[in-house]
Symmetry: C2
Subunit: 237 residues, 2 copies
């Protein structure tokens, strides 16, 4: 069944946004009486029947809310320096949303080649991936311009910095504890500066390796996200 | 240090291919005396000094071979139905090569929307990713037109089919044994046909789930690849 996104959905009558109305009425050519699924992006799904199709204001009748399956008793927060080619960051957001992620933070690092990101486009990527993979939750995406602000304000119980340095022998998969709220920092193409790594360490971030492979920023971010899920699946047994 | 690919590299004098010569001489503007690394794609790296730069036939002097770090005592073979949008398959090949994979097979399934793939382009994607991530091994990429041929000729000790069916409760991460040669089949956008799933089961393929998320073909293929590596890291302990 097709999933639509309506952040303010509640039981009863609901008008879809212009974008979702267009998708429903014109792209998919759905008809009154057709059943669709609505996600509020906050963890709940609604079984819904279309009342009126209209390219700008399609109305539906929402049934009672039910929790989605994409809840987990731990936290996955990945913070990365956006890539020079922004499509690679968008790709990460799409894939992480499919696999499941709670929060994505974008920060600018000393070695960042990119200093501007358009959040709107990144959120659209996440919404599309949420719809495609039938998720009830939309990851929180926030841009933190200052690296130090990110470091100081993080409250996760397990905080890691993926630091490309031969002296780092601890692997993320070995360090993650099941059930923990986890934040992993992923640096830019040119890696973190020594000063940034030092600052993170001072604030309790543990340097970890993501394995022997030299991974691109977006690949590192995605494997870190998947690692937290798999560790929780395998270590709890 | 920059990595170049020369499948026939041996100790001594070597002429790079036209493509690699162009990359070395024109794109990177390297000079005689500069040091580069060469991968033969078969597990070995060579420390090398450039003798003559030339846009079509750059010559280098290769030192003795040494094994790369990208060897593992198990096997990762992912077979997938190529996606309708071939860029998604190329993306999988790039990311799997970065993370590490032994073999990629592409097959055509009853529900495949794509029936043709250009292997040359896919191999170029793998070579670029191998160079970028400083790998000594190039994954084997082969196109198997007939699904039944793939099923009959597979010899891996652990064979799985990622089958999107509510009755499948076994998860890949729980099923993979460390040290095993693993093959995972990933279906097309429209999933395997019941007949294909039955055929695979008859030939010893075990249906597995990749978790509760509905993943795109290329995301499923990549998470399966990463899962085999992580299980080997975590379960051996």
């Amino acid at each position: 069944m097709h999933l639509f996104y309506a952040p303010d959905a509640t039981q009863g009558l609901l008008t879809l946004s212009e974008e979702e109305s267009m998708h429903c009425a014109r792209v998919l050519r759905m008809q009154p009486g057709d059943k669709i699924l609505i996600s509020n992006g906050k963890g709940f799904l609604f079984d819904t029947i279309i009342e009126i199709t209209h390219p700008k204001k399609t109305t539906v009748i929402c049934g009672s809310e039910r929790p989605g399956l994409d809840h987990w008793p731990y936290g996955v927060h990945i913070a990365l320096a956006p890539t020079k080619n922004i499509e690679r960051t968008e790709w990460f957001i799409e894939k992480a949303t499919e696999i499941g992620i709670d929060k994505i933070s974008l920060f600018f690092s000393e070695h960042s080649e990119r200093r501007v990101v358009k959040t709107d486009r990144l959120i659209r990527t996440a919404v599309a991936a949420m719809k495609q993979s039938v998720k009830s939750r939309l990851p929180e995406i926030n841009v933190v311009s200052d690296f130090e602000e990110l470091i100081r304000n993080s409250s996760e119980s397990q905080r890691f910095i993926a630091w490309i340095d031969e002296s780092v022998n601890l692997e993320l998969a070995d360090a993650v504890e099941p059930g923990a709220m986890v934040l992993v920092l992923i640096g830019p193409e040119g890696d973190f500066s020594p000063g940034e790594a030092e600052l993170a360490k001072t604030h309790g971030f543990v340097p970890v390796s993501l394995g022997k492979s030299r991974l691109r920023t977006e690949t590192a971010a995605l494997t870190a996200c998947h690692t937290v899920h798999l560790v929780n699946q395998l270590k709890k047994q």
